[in-house]
Symmetry: C2
C-alpha cells in the first residue's frame, strides 16, 4: 500500500488525509474513510492527531510556508522583473510538484479552516499574492511590461494558472515541473502570439 519511508505515524496520517481530502473534499471526507485507508479504526486516529481540522491546518500552513520560503530566494536577486517573475513561477510550480495532494488541499479546502486560522491563512495568501504583484509593478515601472495592464487581473491570471495546476498535472504524461514553469512563464510574459 503506502510506503512507510521515514515518516512518523502522524505524518503518514496527514499524507493519506491529503489524498483523501483532495479526492472527496474536506467536508465530504470522513474520519472513518481516513481510518480505513490507514487500516485502523476511526477512534485510533486520535492517538496521532487532535482533530480532523488539525490535519487541515497542518496541510494548509505547511504548504504556505513552503511557498513563502521559495519566493524569498527570488525577490532579492538583482535581476530584471521578467526574470524574477519567471523564476518565481518556476519555484512555485516546483513546490507544488513536490506534493500535489497537499497543494490541491491548500488551494481548494482552506475555506474549511475555522477562525482564527482562516483569517490568518487568508492574510498569508494575500501577502504572497502581493509580492508577485510587486514584481509585476516593478516590471511596468521599469518599462519591461506594458503600462496599460490591469495589474490585479494579471496577478490573478497568474495565480489561477498556478493554483489550478494540481488538478490536471500528471507526473507521468506532463513535462517536468521546471519545464512546465518555463513554458507557463513564457505564455504569460510573451503571449501566444507569433
Amino acid at each position: 500500500m503506502d510506503e512507510n519511508l521515514n515518516l512518523t505515524k502522524k505524518e503518514q496520517v496527514i499524507r493519506v488525509a491529503a489524498n483523501l481530502f483532495r479526492e472527496k473534499g474536506y467536508a465530504a471526507a470522513s474520519m472513518r474513510d481516513l481510518a480505513q485507508k490507514l487500516g485502523i479504526e476511526a477512534a485510533s486516529l486520535y492517538s496521532h492527531i487532535k482533530s480532523k481540522e488539525e490535519i487541515l491546518q497542518s496541510l494548509c500552513f505547511d504548504m504556505a510556508a513552503e511557498f513563502r520560503k521559495a519566493l524569498e530566494n527570488v525577490e532579492n536577486q538583482k535581476i530584471s522583473a521578467s526574470e524574477k517573475l519567471r523564476i518565481g513561477i518556476i519555484e512555485h510550480i516546483n513546490v507544488m510538484a513536490k506534493d500535489l495532494p497537499s497543494s490541491a488541499v491548500f488551494m481548494n479546502e482552506h475555506r474549511h479552516l475555522s477562525r482564527p486560522f482562516l483569517n490568518e491563512f487568508l492574510l498569508l495568501q494575500i501577502n504572497y499574492i502581493n509580492r508577485f504583484k510587486k514584481i509585476i509593478e516593478e516590471g511596468i515601472s521599469k518599462g519591461e511590461f506594458k503600462m496599460n495592464i490591469d495589474k490585479k487581473l494579471a496577478v490573478m491570471t497568474l495565480f489561477s494558472s498556478l493554483n489550478w495546476m494540481p488538478l490536471w498535472y500528471d507526473d507521468k504524461t506532463n513535462a517536468v515541473p521546471t519545464d512546465l514553469g518555463e513554458q507557463l512563464a513564457d505564455i504569460l510574459i510573451n503571449g501566444l502570439k507569433q
Copy 2:
C-alpha cells in the same frame, strides 16, 4: 431579503442554494441552512425539489449549456484564430458574470455529482475545453501563434484564469465583464511584455 423577480419558487430555491453552495461548499451546506435562508422549514424544501443533488445538477448542467451555446456563436465565424479566442474568452466571461454564484458552483462543486451525472458533466467539460484547444491549434497551424507552445498548458492556463474569476471578481470594483475579457485575452495572446 431576496427579490422575487419573476422566479418560480423552485428557481428561488436554486438561486439561494447557489449562493449557499458557493459560500460553504456543497457538502458542508445543509438543507436546514438552505431552508433557513428561505424562511421555511427544511422539510418544506421537498415540495419544490426532489433532493439536494437535484439542485446541484440544475446548477451544473444549466451553466454548462450556457457556456456551450455562447461558444457555438463564435466557432463558425470567418475570423482569425486570435479573434475567435478573444471573442470566446469574452463570451465565457459574460456568461459567468450573469450568474457568479452558479459559476462558482459549476467550477468548484461539480465533483459532488453522483454517477452517471458526474461522468456526463466531465464529458461536457472536456468537450468544451477541446473546442478552445482547436482554436489554439488553428492559430498555431495558421502561423498566428507560436509553433512551440505546449497546447495543453495553453488551454489549461486559459481555463484556470476563466474559472477562477468568480472567486475574486466583484461587480462593484472590477471592470465590466466585456472589458475584463478583452484584457484577459490581451494578456494571453500578447503577453505582459512591452
